[in-house]
Subunit: 319 residues, 2 copies
């Protein structure tokens, strides 16, 4: 019986593959940049390459893999094995049969789920969520995603639960990348933060953010760029991160007032990069909004780090 | 085996008692004003009176009651059968053994739970929530309370889940009766609405709200007063109810974005009084904030009406 499985974290900038053993330990990995041109078949081919490379690094034949799990952005139809409307992937609007394509290429069963749900599942089974019966996972990255664990099970609602980034923290407030107003993500999503930084920069405000970006050969304000700017005490970076933390505090406190979960786990690109000190800042920003403020939830950074999404994806095909 | 049970809805202004039969049908009822002086023993004595009177009206001997359920404000300890910090009841700060006191007076087992949770339980089992696997109950009254039904079970978290009234809809916004800023209840709670109306009235703004209140011999803006002022096209009443509806729209949409429940049931004093047309207004106010706006949750008024809280309380002692 095959005991090795592969997990894929499919992101806008990178494809992270891992191969895990029977105890979920990572025995091999590979990372490729996500194609920025072409379409879904090109992305699928790159995913297959990453799986083969990760298997090779683990000394495992691809034929030995018991299955491949994929955490994907966009609208995932688990039953059909398709992904649609993945806006940050090239020309990926219509539903594409990603599971069937990968099964054909790799000869293993493939399961796909939402990227954030998969990462939260990883934290539930193997990471920061292990000791808790209920917790809220908040994935702070380009957007702000979420996963709700109740009675040690992901609550999915009618399939779209967990959109903590689109809770309203300020009626009539800032425009969100989703087009609505006052969403948490309008203040705390890295995409919205970058747009605001560009706007201020264009208006003549000083910042090292864009110099750091160019120095690193990037065309986006990555989590690493934000962290480096904070290290240099850049005023604009501090102000915009402070604004994000304040919005996260209000939004997460609202969710806790509604659900009274035991813990909150902060992950995502920016959450993982900024880590523990910023988890504490978010906790402090929540405090004035908590209805039962005498026993706030435990606050923890995601424990699985950069590989968490891929490790969580491997759990989708647990034997 | 006793088949009749009593249910009590303990409110700040009234004590509503019902006696229900084996099929949950109401076979007797009584209503008393809640004592405004004295302390917990006086309130308990009045509750016992209401139960006796409801039993008499049903032609049932008190000894025949299989149990008494109570929906109470304040901090309820179900196990201990105590209620503490019931701010709208007279001199009720310390935990008072309400269950033991009523058992002594009535000779029947007594169970107590939070008033809003009990009312939502009633809607789940017997009312508007019957067809749904998941729904959010929003109780729009002096405050804004909530109950979360997932997989046909009330989700209680660590005991305090459902505080939808203290979700933040406007960071840095209006002061809430709870002392925090920007809570939904700061805009939509009848208590906060009345405070705002008094402030505007004192500053010289015209309204019929306080004339209607006096004409009815009240010293508070009851739900009936608000409804009557709306009937007279009173500008201030319209503005403040519109403001409340807008906040309810944002707050409930936030909760739906997080939980993706199938339905929302609107109850409470003001919700029940204003009814269906205002449920539709709340639905319209939610729409621009819904992340998956193509399939909004079903929106319904609570079906059990004024007796819902007491009927739900009777379910606590279901045989």
């Amino acid at each position: 019986m095959p005991t090795f499985r592969a997990g894929i974290d499919l992101g806008a900038t990178k494809i992270q593959a891992v191969v895990v053993g029977p105890d979920h330990a990572v025995v091999g990995q590979a990372r490729h940049p996500t194609p920025t041109e072409g379409g879904p078949p090109d992305v699928a081919a790159r995913i297959a390459d990453a799986v083969r490379e990760a298997a090779e690094s683990a000394g495992v034949a691809v034929e030995e893999l018991g299955g491949v799990g994929v955490g994907s952005p966009g609208a995932v139809d688990q039953e059909a094995g398709t992904v649609a409307s993945a806006r940050n992937l090239p020309n990926w609007e219509e539903p594409f049969p990603l599971a069937a394509t990968l099964t054909e290429a790799l000869g293993a069963p493939v399961r796909i789920d939402n990227d954030v749900q998969v990462a939260v599942l990883g934290e539930l089974e193997l990471g920061a969520g292990k000791p808790y019966s209920s917790f809220l996972g908040v994935w702070w990255g380009t957007g702000v995603g979420g996963g709700i664990v109740l009675d040690r099970t992901l609550w999915l609602g009618r399939g779209a639960a967990g959109e903590i980034g689109h809770m309203v923290v300020k009626r009539g407030g800032a425009r969100c990348p989703c087009g609505r107003r006052g969403c948490l993500e309008a203040y705390a999503g890295r995409g919205a933060m970058e747009a605001k930084a560009r706007e201020l920069h264009d208006r003549g405000h000083k910042t090292v953010l864009f110099d750091l970006m160019k120095k690193r050969g990037r065309n986006r304000l990555t989590s690493g760029v934000w962290a480096a700017a904070l290290d240099k005490d850049d005023h604009m970076a501090e102000q915009l991160v402070h604004r994000a933390v304040a919005a996260l505090g209000a939004g997460i406190a609202s969710a806790v007032n509604l659900l009274d979960v035991e813990a909150v786990v902060i992950g995502g690109g920016l959450g993982t990069r900024l880590g523990e000190p910023y988890v504490e800042k978010i906790a402090a920003a929540m405090q004035p909004h908590l209805f039962v403020d005498s026993r706030p939830p435990d606050m923890l950074p995601a424990a699985l780090g950069d590989l968490g999404g891929a490790i969580g994806a491997a759990l989708l095909v647990e034997p």
